[in-house]
Symmetry: C2
Subunit: 212 residues, 2 copies
């Protein structure tokens, strides 16, 4: 575990990208790859790639290239995809349903255990064999089931309440799609997907290009 | 337009967040706010906030606070939300449909003009008065309609083809949900939403916390 410490956020943010590209190489039956070839593929410099991998103890021999399968497995272990994670989704609107139906997540070890909503029209509807339950049942559900990650797909004004519910039930990871910044204890990790902010960033970049 | 130049990406990435918080203040009928109050709300330091706003010429008088409405409008103008943008979505699967149904986008000036898919079961289905069309019609559609932003919600292996089609039809902004890095000319802006990478980052952060 020690080698995980003191890795900069910049490196960490690149790991999932390496992981994705390596998965693609594996699918294409590529056995070995040099940092130069990886660089051409991913767009980071070869020296950046070697530096990043050195943070985690290297992987692979200079000049001989990396073993793709090993590298994929090692980065997976660092990321934590060698374990499985139970998840629940709160908010079964468009985004919630899209996440629930996103098959890629299962492939990397995310097991959806429950979906919750307040809308009577949605409660009882099944998504992938999971019946959408009333949000009022979350507390009882979490006391009986072990859940690692809570996914928030509710509107902004109720997101904090759901986060509090997660925290009080011992959930340590929150994936938040609501357009708010959640207030959680230090030992709880939050990753935000703020779609509107992403779209506004795109618009800004486009306008800046136009002004050039 | 000049004041837009040479702003660091870090500042730019914060603007949509300011914009979101100011929208919330407006909805709550708050007229004026100090950088200290904004800081408590957003979580950036007051000095950071003043510095950011100075990049764009200040807004507001020291000690007197910012006029929320003015600040909101000014940041909106900088981001480009004072204009409207025509968009199309390619890929009407879960994510594509979620984006198509996301009402917040219309409110900030994004007008969805077309949705395209290859799946015969989806072609002809209506989402919000827009009939899903065959991907083969994109070229003809783009030659007749002015589209500013193309939204890619197709699988990884066809995303680049769609991006090429966008570029060849003069689209300058791409919002990409496919888990690939697109190759586009310099004058085309791309903003990626890589959901799996976001989820993997969360898992890494959780495991790191656990190791502490």
């Amino acid at each position: 575990m020690d080698k995980k410490r003191d890795i900069s956020m910049a490196v960490i943010k690149r790991l999932p990208k390496y992981y994705r590209h390596l998965a693609e190489l594996l699918r294409n039956d590529v056995d070995r790859i040099s940092s130069k070839e990886l660089s051409d593929k991913i767009g980071f410099t070869a020296s950046q790639i070697r530096q990043d991998f050195n943070c985690f103890g290297g992987f692979g021999q200079q000049g001989y290239g990396y073993n793709v399968k090993e590298l994929y497995n090692e980065i997976g272990k660092i990321l934590g995809t060698d374990k499985e994670y139970n998840t629940i989704i709160v908010g079964a609107g468009n985004i919630g349903q899209a996440i629930a139906n996103y098959s890629r997540f299962e492939k990397v070890g995310f097991n959806l255990k429950g979906i919750f909503d307040t809308n009577p029209k949605l409660i009882g509807v099944r998504i992938k064999d999971i019946e959408i339950e009333d949000v009022d049942n979350i507390d009882a559900f979490l006391s009986k089931n072990s859940v690692d990650i809570g996914i928030i797909c509710v509107p902004a004004n109720t997101a904090q309440k759901i986060a509090d519910l997660f925290v009080s039930n011992g959930i340590k990871g929150i994936w938040n799609f609501a357009p708010v910044d959640l207030d959680v204890p230090e030992d709880v990790s939050v990753e935000n997907v703020h779609l509107l902010e992403s779209m506004l960033t795109l618009v800004y970049l486009m306008n800046e290009q136009k002004a050039k």
